[in-house]
Symmetry: C2
Subunit: 366 residues, 2 copies
């Protein structure tokens, strides 16, 4: 299938999105791509199957026994590995918080037409695999190599362009980041929808970098020009803005909505008295969380942070609220060790990327 | 928390839904409640975590070690069971296809305001547990007993009424249905979001009957009047219609969308030539699938059915299409052994329940 065979170039351009209402195709995406259940933020590790999922194309159903990872391109010693060989390599298991670059998109106005995430495109899994860098070094990138690309088996069209999902990292980035080649999550083999049998995890970066259904690792002597690298996942202020690449996860926090919900509105009812508000906070590139603040009735309070030994996993926070009868919009806001704080209003991006504005939770106390 | 403490009675009634567009709360529900990925219909068993999920309230995070199932009410010999005791009972493992009663709701016009399912609220898991009926008989229902209720640990509000999710079955229904008390799915313990540590599965009925986070089984001498039994899950032609209870799954079929997708529209590109169309068909109460037909360019063709030894699991179908260049709306339609066929247009129900109209897949062949 080639780009010239392309009915989508003219017939399926993305329409404008409207604020406040969502189109049928956007809801179709929301039904396919699942978000975390916010109440599971109580757990260090998101239950299997409740981790957020964002797949651009169809899930390829690959045969793990037949699967091969091909190190190719400008390597002095290209080679291939099968799953058994990869599982025999030194094992690393690490809890890593991953977030979709589109998380919060539905809160950015004017809206961008795409998967309409609100707060729920985040999760933490125990990823198991092996360090990637030694495997690339083993293939000996030639001196002209500038980037390494990672190609998945998932193919489809976006904005009229047919392509396999692929991303790249520079050698410098690979040296700094603890990229894992992963074959298991939460103690079970990778689920098909999470990239089985093989994917990478780029800790601290938004999820687009963590290529699923990984087939090929190629050494490139020119920067990678794949669609998912150069045509999207760019911060843009306006349509003609050349854009800046999206990389590290911005500082963010979420709370477990307290009390009990109304089924359709998800507003909450809480009993007056002591209410333990709990949640999670995280930031990109392994930067620690320094502070979480909770806003109640216009006043900000400092939450207690739980000790966190896992550099790439979210930090738990707790705040005991003496709740009095009334109606509240609770908010939480994190600050990381670099001094970055969550904004109260969504940062502007034309595609609604990386919206880390403080979460609002509508609560009635009685 | 009691019903009198209820801010939702007046402040959060459900607004009218608009055809063609969806509200923010509806998309919030779509982000929380995940649908099957249609491409996984290729598999007999839906991958763990890709089975559809519809939870009215928050997922209760229960301690399996502490959990007890309480047989109470009008039993001559009420008793309790813990998880170890339940696991020591005779084990049954069965692939069962489950579908949400709200599946297809977004296709019914005028729309009903709720979780906006299109086609994806279905899945098949290997459920493992023990037969429920002997456990009820062991408690010896008294002669006045008319129904047995099943109460979950999940609490919240709907239409202003606070309640635990609960459902009932008559003794007669329990004798006819192969209801399972379940603690594992697909070889792993129940996931929190699927009812851990304990739920029932009512094969052949829509999902609302398969109560999750099961805590209590009560023998009742009056019909159960819980919200989820008498205030919803009723077929209604109009607002004042008293309604008829929703029970057995209606005959239905789905196809794996062929070819490759456009990311946002999910329309498909297929290469001309032989295309193997595959999908699944199922009907309620263990009724076999007798026929699946595929509509291509206005003509209906008979698909081949794969032999199916699992009474409560979907049946695979295959049709080899010699695809010629063009634009198509493919449809599939199943007929069961009782002679029930899927309609081409959505059957009317005020809440959009049990819409089993034929699926449409928009395909370009080149």
């Amino acid at each position: 299938m080639t780009q010239s065979h392309n009915p989508f170039k003219t017939s399926v351009d993305r329409p404008e999105a409207q604020d406040g209402v969502f189109s049928h195709p956007e809801v179709l995406l929301a039904n396919r791509n699942s978000g975390i259940l916010l109440e599971t933020l109580e757990l260090d590790v998101t239950p299997t199957g409740a981790h957020y999922l964002l797949n651009h194309f169809d899930v390829p159903l690959l045969d793990a026994d037949e699967h091969q990872l091909n190190f190719c391109g400008a390597f002095a010693e290209p080679y291939r590995l099968n799953l058994s060989e990869i599982k025999a390599l030194p094992q690393v298991t690490m809890p890593i918080t991953m977030e979709c670059a589109g998380n919060g998109r539905a809160g950015v106005s004017p809206r961008s037409y795409s998967m309409p995430w609100m707060y729920e495109a985040v999760g933490t899994s125990e990823w198991k695999g092996t360090a990637l860098l030694p495997l690339i070094e083993k293939a000996r990138p030639q001196s002209e190599v500038v980037e390494i690309s990672f190609m998945g088996a998932d193919y489809g069209f976006d904005k009229g362009i047919g392509h396999y999902f692929g991303r790249s990292l520079t050698l410098e980035q690979l040296e700094k980041l603890d990229v894992l080649l992963v074959y298991a999550m939460n103690g079970v083999p990778l689920l098909p929808q999470h990239g089985a049998p093989l994917r990478i995890i780029v800790p601290g970066w938004y999820g687009m970098a963590s290529v699923k259904w990984l087939c090929q690792i190629e050494a490139l002597t020119q920067p990678f020009d794949g669609f998912q690298q150069v045509k999207t996942y760019l911060f843009k202020q306006h349509k003609n803005d050349p854009g800046k690449p999206i990389r590290e996860i911005r500082v963010k926090s979420l709370m477990v909505p307290p009390g009990v919900p109304d089924w359709t509105s998800r507003k909450r009812l809480v009993n007056a008295g002591n209410v333990e508000l709990i949640g999670r906070a995280w930031s990109g590139a392994g930067v620690a969380i320094e502070k979480v603040e909770i806003e109640i009735a216009g006043e900000w309070h400092i939450a207690e942070l739980e000790k966190n030994d896992n550099r790439y996993a979210w930090t738990k926070w707790i705040f005991n609220w003496q709740a009095e009868a009334g109606e509240y919009i609770l908010r939480c806001r994190a600050t990381d060790a670099n001094g970055n704080s969550q904004p109260l209003d969504p940062p502007w991006d034309i595609s609604g990327f990386a919206n880390n504005a403080a979460q609002s939770v509508h609560v009635f106390v009685e």
